[in-house]
């Protein structure tokens, strides 16, 4: 397992280099940048939607698969910034034609107190079927920069 900080409210920021060196060859799926106000939630989604039959059989309803991250920076009384995040990692387990798709979903809700420019790594090493099947894990790292209000 990675020595990554997760599910810890006092998690310390992690340097990405040793983690990446452990991972060997990694595939960067996405490098987005989101910007938000303090106290507001920024969301990022990368993936798609699959229409599934509704439970009441009244039609089909879309279901998201992929990675969705919502981040809310908050200002602590000490002046430090706390990041409350929720990361959803879901993938389709079976994609057989004729059968409704099954989803493998992991949701991580946590928070971290970060300094500007420091990485926080969220290891999504959950024993999910998709991870076992592919033998690869998805990791999300976030690094905040906060800016003063311009006057």
């Amino acid at each position: 397992m990675l020595n990554a900080a997760q599910s810890d409210s006092e998690a310390k920021p992690v340097d990405l280099k040793p983690i990446l060196s452990k991972c060997g060859k990694v595939t960067v799926l996405s490098e987005p940048t989101v910007m938000t106000l303090v106290g507001q939630t920024a969301e990022f989604r990368s993936g798609g939607e699959r229409f599934l039959p509704a439970a009441d059989r009244s039609g089909e309803s879309p279901r998201f698969f992929g990675i969705a991250a919502s981040i809310t920076p908050k200002l602590r009384p000490s002046g430090k910034m706390e990041f409350v995040y929720e990361i959803q990692n879901s993938s389709i387990v079976n994609d057989d034609a004729g059968e409704p798709a099954q989803f493998d979903e992991t949701v991580i809700e946590s928070s971290a107190i970060l300094e500007t420019g420091e990485w926080h790594v969220v290891d999504m090493n959950q024993p999910t079927q998709a991870n076992v099947r592919h033998g690869r894990v998805r990791i999300l790292a976030l690094r905040p920069y906060w800016m003063m209000r311009h006057r």
Binding site: I19, G24, T27, E31, A141, M147
Partner: protein, 88 residues
Amino acid sequence: MAGGRLMTLPNHLSEAGEAPSSPASAVPAVPSPRKRSRWSISLGGILIFAAGMMVGFAPMRAWLFFRDEPFMVQTELMIFEGRCGSAR
């Protein structure tokens, strides 16, 4: 005392009407205000001034803090896949 003036004896005279033994004691004993040390007055003033500063400057400090608070937050995300030392 009827028809006469109402008189009170000075404190320094005894009821027997003895004259004061020394001229200095003829001065009526007026209670003088209690003298305070100059230093204690200064210390009290400084404390009152400091308390006033703290109370008065608290809103200003809060205003300065919120004026300069981080306003926008830019977050870089990096999503990657790898084996990453996992046992699986």
